[in-house]
Amino acid sequence: MKKVKTYWALFEDISAGTFFSVGITLIFYGVVMRYVFNDPKPWVEEVSRYAVIWGAMLGIPIALRNNHHIQVDMLYEKLPAYMRRWVDIFASSVGILFCLFYTYYGFMLVYKRYSSGMVSMDVGVPMWIIYLILPISGVMFLLRFTERLADVWRGKEVSHDNPVI
């Protein structure tokens, strides 16, 4: 199980990191082509935008893994330990609920765009492919919240404190 988790984290990092870096590099490529070679590439802006968004959406579960989604501890810190466990269980369940909603409606959007055959403005990529990231990141986010729920349910000592860089 531990090995699976390590490889899954690696998969998350590689997939999100690739889209993210490619997006940033493409923006730079666009700058170089425009200012150095005086040959602006109109497709760059759209493609780089979608690449960065894909990277950022795939990064949402990573940010949960590293406790980077900011939360308020004001009340939590004052609660006794057994109450904290129930608050943790509640918070993770709410997260799961959100992911289910987001994945379902994300998938519906993909399905609708697939039937209508709508394409992107500049490059003409079918929009359903671009929107695929919604259900994909939704499922990956769901997995991380499920992991968190399992951890707090079993009373595992895991810290979900606010981010420390």
């Binding site: 990092d13 999100a16 990191g17 993210f20 870096s21 997006g23 940033i24 923006i27 730079f28 666009g30 700058v31 200012y35 802006e45 780089s48 935008r49 979608y50 960065v52 968004i53 990277g55 950022a56 959406m57 990064g59 949402i60 990573i62 940010a63 949960l64 590293n66 980077h68 989604h69 900011i70 939360q71 308020v72 501890d73 004001m74 009340l75 939590y76 608050v87 943790d88 509640f90 918070a91 709410v94 997260g95 609920l97 959100f98 909603f101 987001y102 409606y105 994300g106 519906m108 959007l109 609708k112 929107y131 990231i133 919604l134 979900h160 606010n162 981010p163 420390v164 860089i165």
Partner: protein
């Protein structure tokens, strides 16, 4: 309905649901009550992120992470220490100046506090400074990250209010330098009072050598701000130029980046970028609800009928920002309040660029007021001290922030003079 929304939001937040999800879910619950087509929700989240100016955020985040890991911040601090480290209070002054330079490259306050604090807090403590003071100073000076351009909150403000991000950036420079100056003055005063000595004086030859080493990093703020000010590059373009410039400097000149650093750098940037992007998505749903329920119009009409003057308006708004700032972070506050405030600004004839700077100074205070203050978390993390200790150290600085805030409110020219000099 709006009250229901806020009640659910606050309950979820208090039960430790991440802020972004609390905001999204409370809005979705209310949207189901008003027969809203829920299929619009994911599309709206996507559209909110789908903006080229927004891509400046990952750019400046990445540049900041590379800077901190690639040695640039280390050499900058080294050079500053060589020049002023020997003066009384010198190390505190070095901390503030280093935060200012770092702020002019990175757009985030926690990143600034982390990069400078991890080096300067131990250095100050070793030199005999009170640890609480050292931590408070770093948390406070680190907030300059969002006032001195580039700035993530100003990017988001610009996109939401449809104002030029370049102009907003320029508007932050003078207030940022004033706030930095006030902090420096307070540091010198504090050091004189507590009789802190500086280190040994560095000979001129060594100073030159250190400066030469740091010059590559010191050039970066001029590259970023110069390209934006002259109109040669958009903020997004200048962000990626900064990324590749810092990669080249860190790899070729300082030789401090290795292949093994790639994964941590990217993951760290993704943590911050994705956290912000999720908040942007969630807040866009909230904005969708507000427009649907015509809340901005109602507030606007209420303000118009109440004959509120500018003084009362600023008083109420600043108090509201302060209260929200204690438990929310900057991006959420801007995205929640700005759609409501914009029509009011237009009605009262308040310049949105000037208001952006007023708001940003409030957001700086939000970063250092508990229970949720990102800079407090970062400083408590790097110095391995309890949050309460950092809070004690940072509290005296709030008075200085309020002083500068009042100055900026009373003299709009402090923020407007520079952007008005831009050609486009």
């Amino acid at each position: 309905m709006t009250i229901l929304l806020f009640s659910i939001f606050i309950v979820l937040m208090l039960l430790r649901v991440p802020i972004a999800i609390s905001l999204a879910l409370s809005t979705i619950i209310v949207l189901t009550q008003i027969d809203f087509n829920l299929q619009m929700v994911p599309q709206r989240v996507f559209t909110a992120m789908d903006s080229f100016p927004l891509m400046a955020i990952p750019g400046f985040v990445l540049a900041g992470v590379i800077l901190a890991r690639g040695g640039i911040s280390k050499y900058l601090i080294g050079a500053l220490r060589a020049w002023v480290g020997h003066l009384s209070g010198g190390l505190a002054v070095v901390t503030i100046l280093a935060c200012m330079v770092f702020a002019a490259i990175s757009g985030s306050s926690p990143a600034t506090a982390a990069a400078i604090g991890s080096i300067m807090i131990p250095a100050m403590v070793n030199a005999g400074y009170d640890k609480k003071y050292a931590m408070g100073l770093v948390a406070a000076a680190g907030t300059l990250g969002i006032l001195i351009p580039p700035s993530i909150p100003l990017i988001i403000y610009g996109i939401t209010a449809e104002v030029s991000i370049g102009k907003l950036f320029m508007a932050g420079i003078i207030p940022g330098v004033i706030l930095g100056g006030v902090l420096v003055a307070s540091a010198i005063f504090y050091a004189k009072k507590n009789n802190y000595r500086g280190g040994r004086k560095i000979p001129w030859g060594e100073r030159g050598k250190m400066s030469l080493k740091a010059i590559w990093g010191a050039f970066l703020p001029f590259l970023i701000l110069g390209s934006i000010y002259s109109g040669a590059a958009t903020p997004t373009e200048s962000a990626v130029i900064a990324v590749f410039y810092s990669i080249v400097v860190s790899v070729v000149i300082y030789r401090e980046l290795r292949w093994k650093d790639v994964r941590p750098i990217i993951v760290e940037s993704l943590n911050i970028t994705s956290m912000i992007f999720l908040i942007i998505g969630a807040a866009s749903l909230f904005a969708l609800y507000l427009t649907n329920a015509q809340v901005p119009q109602q507030v606007g009409e209420w303000i118009a009928s109440s004959n509120m003057n500018k003084f009362t308006f600023f008083l109420i708004v600043n108090l509201m920002f302060f209260v929200m700032g204690t438990f929310l972070e900057a991006v959420s506050i801007i995205l929640i309040t700005l759609p409501i405030l914009l029509p009011v600004l237009a009605h009262m004839g308040i310049n949105p660029i000037y208001f952006a700077i007023v708001m940003t100074i409030n957001m700086e205070m939000a970063m250092i007021t508990p229970p949720v203050g990102l800079n407090l978390f970062v400083v408590s993390g790097i110095s391995k001290e309890k949050l309460g200790e950092v809070v004690k150290g940072v509290t005296p600085f709030i008075a200085l922030f309020v002083l500068v805030l009042v100055l900026v409110i009373v003299f709009p020219q402090l923020s407007l003079w520079l952007p008005e000099r831009m050609d486009y």
